[in-house]
């Protein structure tokens, strides 16, 4: 188990050092691909159309991945991209049968190798097994996180994918989702903070020290990083559908930075995963390169940060699109060309030392449209990152991140930049109070939440001892 490295100060000296294409600690991986050394690369994520996945349909599944890999890399070569990352987000069935996920990993590596040898195309594959632990969301069943058949399969999936040559290993881990979801649904801020600041950080540490260990032993695979998709994307998508307050989603996203940073504290090298909109905070603190997604990922979900999300990206992603036919060709191929043109503009701006000008437009595009946009601007990210490293424990760092985000939003509202509706302002008021009332000692909060939501989670699965709080 690798020892945790806690970041006491930031990897950048100010927001001016946060720009797309450059990361303090570039990562070399795959076929001669160096991420974060001054060039933004496209990250193309491609998935299956509507079909069943079973032993019977497996040949058809493979045929789809062959076609997608062929079309995407043909397009990449035609577009003369400087390099490319293929993301294979395993669907649950492919992690439940680890051999399936590994077979597709090997297929992708073969295609990358061929194109590298034939055309000199630099590339790497990111393999993202599905976090099938729990199982999450099954009525009356407390998710089982650190043992059991599902964890064994996930564990084996990592091993087989690494053995199959997977260049970058990632996962959208869902430790503490059961508490966080409930917290979001009922607007229970204390439950949300506890889930992210205590439970999730513990699960990340337990999980990522093992992933890092496996990768280091392989001598090839790079432990790339995680994403708070199950937490802050849930709140972002809900906020986008006006089902949750934007300010709640913004604070959730800021706090998620602490949880996603844990992977790096355990030894992950980056690029942190595309749907982690909190990655800029991780980059500011740890210096690792990050993948981001925005306007060119509307095929997967909508958001109010389509341009802001490209301000500090080292990889630019389409999140995910099915292998379906458009008028030009298949969707993965069409999105490869779109991403290739997007990154060309960013790379040229950097070559002409005008990256900051481009960034300024991206910021102005989204900064005052939503609270999430406000807290993801480089300056806000830097402020939140500073507040985080000033604290000792995961819990206090999470609370600090939340408070920092609230102050940034409040300042922007006071300066009439961000104008929030009546409801949102009421929630902003309430969040200030809630964060002010949070206990200093996380054990107090643990007992409280165990009292109200003890039926949802098993503390032992997070290595947490909770004095059996008197049933409320």
């Amino acid at each position: 188990m690798s020892k945790e490295k806690i970041f006491r100060n930031l990897a950048v000296s100010g927001p001016q050092d946060l720009i797309f294409g450059f990361a303090p600690k570039p990562v070399k991986c795959g076929f001669d691909l160096t991420i974060g050394a001054g060039t933004v690369f496209p990250e193309v994520n491609f998935t299956l159309p509507v079909m069943d996945v079973s032993t019977k349909t497996w040949p058809e599944v493979i045929a789809h991945y062959e076609e997608m890999a062929t079309n995407i890399l043909k397009r990449a070569v035609a577009m003369k991209v400087p390099g490319i990352v293929l993301e294979f987000e395993q669907l649950p069935q492919m992690t439940e049968t680890p051999e399936w996920g590994a077979e597709i990993t090997a297929l992708l590596e073969r295609h990358l190798k061929q194109n590298y040898e034939k055309y000199g195309l630099r590339g790497a594959a990111r393999i993202t097994p599905a976090d099938i632990r729990g199982p999450a969301g099954v009525k009356g069943v407390k998710p089982v996180m650190r043992h059991g058949e599902l964890w064994e399969k996930l564990n084996r999936s990592f091993d087989l994918c690494i053995a199959a040559g997977g260049d970058l290993i990632s996962i959208e881990s869902i430790g503490a989702k059961e508490v966080h979801d409930e917290g979001l649904m009922f607007g229970d801020v204390r439950a949300i903070v506890f889930a992210l600041g205590v439970l999730a950080c513990r699960d990340m540490t337990w999980l990522w020290s093992q992933i890092v260990d496996k990768c280091e032993k392989s001598g090839h695979s790079v432990p790339a990083g995680d994403t708070a998709c199950g937490f802050a994307n849930t709140s972002m998508v809900l906020a986008y559908q006006k089902l949750l307050p934007d300010v709640v989603a913004a604070v959730d996203r800021a706090m998620a930075g602490v949880r996603t940073l844990k992977a790096v504290e355990c030894g992950a090298k980056g690029p942190s995963k595309d749907c982690g909109y909190e990655n800029p905070i991780v980059k500011a603190i740890s210096g690792i390169p990050i993948s981001q997604e925005g306007k060119s990922a509307t095929c997967a979900h909508f958001s109010h940060v389509g341009n802001m999300s490209s301000t500090m990206c080292d990889l630019w992603s389409n999140e995910s699109v099915q292998n379906i036919r458009l008028l030009s060709g298949n969707a993965p191929e069409a999105y490869t060309e779109l991403l290739a043109y997007d990154v060309r503009l960013m790379n040229i701006a950097n070559e002409k030392k005008q990256g900051k000008i481009f960034q300024s437009w991206m910021i102005e595009s989204d900064q005052n449209v939503s609270a999430i946009g406000t807290i993801l601007a480089p300056e806000s990210v830097y402020t939140i990152a500073k507040a985080i490293v000033a604290e000792e424990t995961d819990y206090l760092r999470t609370v600090a991140a939340g408070k920092a985000a609230l102050d940034i939003i409040q300042k922007s509202v006071d300066k009439k930049n961000l104008n929030l509706g009546k409801k949102e302002l009421q929630w902003l008021e309430r969040l200030h109070k809630e964060f002010a009332n949070l206990p200093k000692d996380e054990n107090v909060l643990a007992e409280e939440i165990f009292g109200t939501m003890g039926h949802l989670f098993d503390p032992e699965c997070y290595g947490l001892k909770v004095a059996a709080a008197a049933a409320k």
């Binding site: 509507v50 669907l91 999450a136 099954v138 009525k139 607007g187 089902l243 949750l244 409801k423």
Partner: protein, 237 residues
């Protein structure tokens, strides 16, 4: 006498404690259950529904009000059952097999409860047999599937076939939804209704029940269902 307007206010403000207290006191003073439902509880939930539609209320406010109403209704349900009043309808809901996304499904379940339906939530990753079992056990008249993955959507069709095999297809109306689902896909797999929002789901469910498009056995008790009562209350029967 207890001021029943406080019950309406407690539900709208999601204050479960007060809602339960006021209901207990009212019943103790001999208030008629039907009156509590028709003139306080349902109007309160309608107001909550409207506030949610107008984006005045977010999901937390909606669910807290739902919780307050359920708290009060639990005190009344045994009395209602005694008088043969049925819930608006009985729904079995779940995310299909292999799919763990449940946020959307949970919202739909909450909205259906708010509309007076008795909801049996099977959770996520639900095998076809478990849907069949629950529809039989609960004598449901609506079954709702949610799916978020292109590779689990086909399980909706598998589950419909399982209902057919068990001779239950005609007992239920099938509702489907989830980000990648569409009206076209709904028609393609022979489901009955689709909506891309939780409130849409509740509206369709109510329409199914009120228009007696549901199986006969609820038909004659039309006005005795919650929705029927609410409709009678608003003269739109």
């Amino acid at each position: 006498m207890t001021d029943l307007k406080k019950l309406h206010k407690a539900i709208v403000e999601g204050d479960a404690k007060t809602a339960v207290e006021v209901t207990k006191a009212a019943l103790a003073e001999g208030a008629k259950p039907l009156d509590l439902i028709q003139n306080f509880m349902i109007p309160a939930m309608d107001e909550v529904g409207k506030l949610f539609e107008e984006e005045e209320y977010f999901v937390p406010e909606l669910l807290l009000s739902g919780r307050a109403m359920r708290g009060a209704f639990d005190l009344i349900r045994p009395l209602m059952a005694a008088q043969g009043v049925q819930p608006t309808g009985r729904v079995v809901i779940g995310t299909v097999q292999g799919d763990l996304h449940d946020i959307g499904k949970n919202l739909v379940a909450a909205m259906l409860e708010g509309a007076g339906f008795e909801v049996t939530d099977l959770g996520a990753d639900v095998a076809p047999e478990k849907f069949v079992e629950a529809v039989k056990a609960k004598n449901a008249n609506i079954v709702a599937f949610s799916a978020m993955l292109t590779v689990t959507m086909p399980k909706m069709q598998t589950t419909i076939e399982a209902l057919k095999a068990a001779g239950l297809r005609n007992q239920v109306k099938v509702m489907v939804g989830g980000a990648p689902i569409s009206q076209a896909y709904c028609d393609q797999i022979g489901a009955d209704a689709y909506s891309d929002t939780a409130s849409g789901a509740a509206a369709i469910a109510r329409e199914i029940v009120v228009n007696q498009k549901v199986s006969a056995q609820f038909a004659e008790k039309g006005e005795k269902t919650l929705a029927g009562i609410a409709a009678a209350g608003k003269g739109t029967k």
